[in-house]
Symmetry: C2
């Protein structure tokens, strides 16, 4: 496997992360997870924009242009013989190496790493989930940033796994729905499709945005709002979204059936619309240009 690291493509066993990389020592970094369909990365520009925006907020140096970013991703896929295949990709950006202490050093070169793996698409299975005991901290700006701080999510997801369910929902500290361990949360109600506002501690998911845009384009009412546990439990349908699973139907929350335990019609419709959206986006020359 070939990995992109700071300008070079290197065999994975030769990749060396420095012992004093602040990403390793202090979770001082961010990442993006992307998905390629037959070699084309969906919403690549949106991922680039989010990465750029998060880096700017954290004052992590990131000077790669969109064109360079596309070239890196494309060459990474080629280097791994994935340029016409389905793949998952991860781009990791850390502040770089530094001496002891929290305050970022002044002159520091960021670490940029990108990996690509073969990915086998599958229809997301109807999922059983629990509400986690761990709460999402909506009082931290990191709740809106895809940072390396993932240990809360690991704990929540591991607990769900041990309890024999597929995922979990994290409430924020005042008890509203925030997110799943690796996904955004949507509900279908009498009034339309709803998803937590970002200020509830939700990540501004790229798939979340695609789903909201698809709803708007197809006259499905869609709202960002505060969602209570009561709202969640009486929803007509519940689903999760992320880059890799796309749209994951939830049929059970804390042992209570949602929609009688069956995948709902809004989920099925959105899955169809999402698939068409992917096809259309690549037909409209949004395919990444070969470098």
């Amino acid at each position: 496997m070939k990995i992109y690291l700071n300008g070079n493509f290197i065999s994975d066993q030769d990749v060396k992360i420095e012992h004093n990389d602040r990403g390793f020592l202090l979770s001082d970094g961010i990442f993006e997870t992307m998905r390629a369909y037959d070699g084309s990365v969906f919403c690549l520009e949106a991922h680039y924009e989010r990465l750029t925006k998060s880096a700017k907020f954290l004052e992590i140096s990131f000077t790669i242009t969109l064109q360079e970013f596309k070239r890196i991703i494309n060459n990474l896929l080629k280097a791994n013989e994935l340029n016409d295949k389905n793949a998952s990709l991860r781009v990791t950006l850390t502040r770089g190496t530094g001496p002891r202490g929290l305050i970022p050093p002044e002159n520091v070169n960021p670490t940029l790493m990108a990996t690509a793996f073969p990915f086998t698409p599958s229809t997301p299975k109807p999922s059983k989930v629990i509400i986690s005991q761990i709460r999402r901290n909506e009082f931290s700006p990191l709740s809106n940033i895809k940072s390396l701080c993932y240990l809360d999510n690991i704990l929540a997801r591991s607990d769900a796994n041990k309890k024999g369910v597929d995922e979990c929902i994290l409430l924020n500290t005042i008890g509203n729905v925030a997110c799943a361990s690796v996904a955004n949360v949507f509900l279908v109600t009498e009034n339309g499709v709803i998803t937590p506002r970002l200020q509830e501690g939700a990540l501004p998911g790229i798939t979340r945005k695609v789903i909201m845009d698809l709803c708007k384009a197809n006259n499905i009412p869609v709202f960002e709002q505060a969602i209570t546990e009561v709202d969640l439990m009486k929803a007509k349908e519940v689903f999760f979204t992320n880059r890799l699973i796309e749209i994951q139907p939830v049929v059970e929350v804390n042992s209570k059936l949602i929609n009688g335990g069956k995948v709902g019609e809004v989920v099925l419709l959105l899955q169809k619309l999402y698939k068409n959206k992917i096809i259309n986006s690549f037909e409209k020359n949004e395919k990444i240009p070969f470098a």
Copy 2:
């Protein structure tokens, strides 16, 4: 500089952290910061115990015995010619490498790294601090664990730095005092010395424990309790504790002088008691045995 990594002492430029170390990708790990006085690590056993306890909670494999741990630390100091010097040490333990995804792999070898640096002791300067806008998540078990998730603290501390002060205090999500960016918080009040309860989001600091024990042994009333912002602002004295700075007097919070801007007498007394405690602990053969 020589670094301990998974059983070996290696030159720092040769140390290689794997690209898929979960500590690097997902902050899936913990650490300890220790301080050596003339080559002797203070409270080494307490650090070992906290590391062991945190690893157990997170289900990170950690099978090193206390004797082995002492030997590693001692050999690390020797390898860096610090075995009779003042030093700061950091031990980092991550879950190890793994494939994509949050759920920890079943068979995984943890990464254990230890570093030691020369440390020049100094009297902590009377500090000006602000209350951070970022809140500590007392609803996460990580608020009581020295995990790699440090980006909230980095943001809080960087902001304090930009505002020209020395440190910051993080409140928890209900507005009680939790901690500083890299320290525990203590107040001196009419009733005695108080510090936030662990359930407020405070880390069970090793120095925090030493200070509480010193208070008890010297008939200074000491309590763990909820501390509001009002309590903080009307405290007679405020001080921070951590391994490296020991006891740091705070003389200004959000531009309001504490104790007229002077270091208080309880802080001065505790600094003296703490110094004696260190000397006594090493005289009583608590010095780490040479391997």
